[in-house]
Symmetry: C2
Subunit: 140 residues, 2 copies
C-alpha cells in the first residue's frame, strides 16, 4: 500500500492546522470524487467552524502541491480526486454523475505529424456511460 494523503502531507512539513486536517481527512478513501461543497459539509461534521473559503483555499493548495487532482468531467462543480499515486482514467455516469477510477489500459498517443509543433505533456481519457444502477433504471 502506498503512503496515504495525511502521511504525505506530514512528510512535506505542510502546516497542518485543525481545519486543514479536517479537509484532508475527508478526502481519504476509495473512489472519492467529492465536490468542494461536499468536502465542506463533511469537514464541518468533524470541525463545525471550517469556512467555505478555507475549504477552497486548502483544496487549491493541495492541487498546486500535486497531492490532489481537480477533475472537471461533468457539468456543475469540480470534483477532487485524491488518487494521485496510480495513473488512471475516469468513468463518468451520465445519469447520476458518479465517477469511478479505471486504471489506464495503454497510453493513447497522437502521431507526431498531426501535432503541428504542439508540445504534448499529458493525456486525459474520460469514458462516459451509465453506472449499473442508472443502466437498470434506463432499460428496466
Amino acid at each position: 500500500m502506498t503512503t496515504d494523503l495525511l502521511t504525505r502531507l506530514r512528510d512535506r512539513e505542510w502546516r497542518l492546522s485543525a481545519q486543514r486536517r479536517a479537509v484532508a481527512e475527508v478526502l481519504v478513501g476509495e473512489h472519492v470524487h467529492l465536490t468542494a461543497e461536499q468536502v465542506h459539509d463533511l469537514a464541518r461534521e468533524r470541525l463545525p467552524e471550517v469556512s467555505r473559503a478555507t475549504v477552497y483555499n486548502t483544496l487549491n493548495e493541495l492541487v498546486a502541491m500535486g497531492e490532489l487532482f481537480e477533475v472537471d468531467v461533468t457539468d456543475g462543480p469540480k470534483r477532487y480526486d485524491p488518487n494521485v499515486t496510480e495513473r488512471h482514467d475516469h468513468l463518468v455516469c451520465d445519469g447520476c454523475q458518479a465517477i469511478r477510477d479505471v486504471p489506464r489500459s495503454s497510453s493513447p498517443d497522437v502521431p507526431p505529424d498531426v501535432l503541428g509543433g504542439f508540445l504534448v505533456t499529458g493525456v486525459e481519457v474520460t469514458y462516459r456511460g451509465l453506472c449499473p444502477s442508472c443502466a437498470r433504471r434506463h432499460r428496466p
Copy 2:
C-alpha cells in the same frame, strides 16, 4: 467535403431566424472553438441586437440536436465545436487555452473486466501541452 452546418440546419427544417442564422454563421470554419461570449460578440457584428440569452438558447438547441459539441476542457467558459462529422479528440494549450482538433488515432478501449457493470457509450481524449507559440515563450 461534408455538408456544412447551415446546410444541415436547412435540411432539418429548423426555423432559421435572423438571430439564429447570425449565431450559426459565426460557428462555421476550421478549428473554431469559441466561447458563448465570443459567439455573442461575433454574432452582434452581423446583427447588433442579438441578446446573450438568444445566443445561449441557440447554442443549447444546436447541442441538443447534435449539430454542435460542447467542449469543456479548460477552466472558464465552455467552448463550442461545430466539427461533429469527423471523429476527433482535442489538443489543449495550457498556456493560452487554444484548442485544436486532432483526428482520433485509435479508439481507446477499457478492458471489460474493470467496468464493473458500467455501460460505456463514449470516450473522450484530451491531450494537454503547449502550442507552438506558447512553447517558444516558455523556453526561448
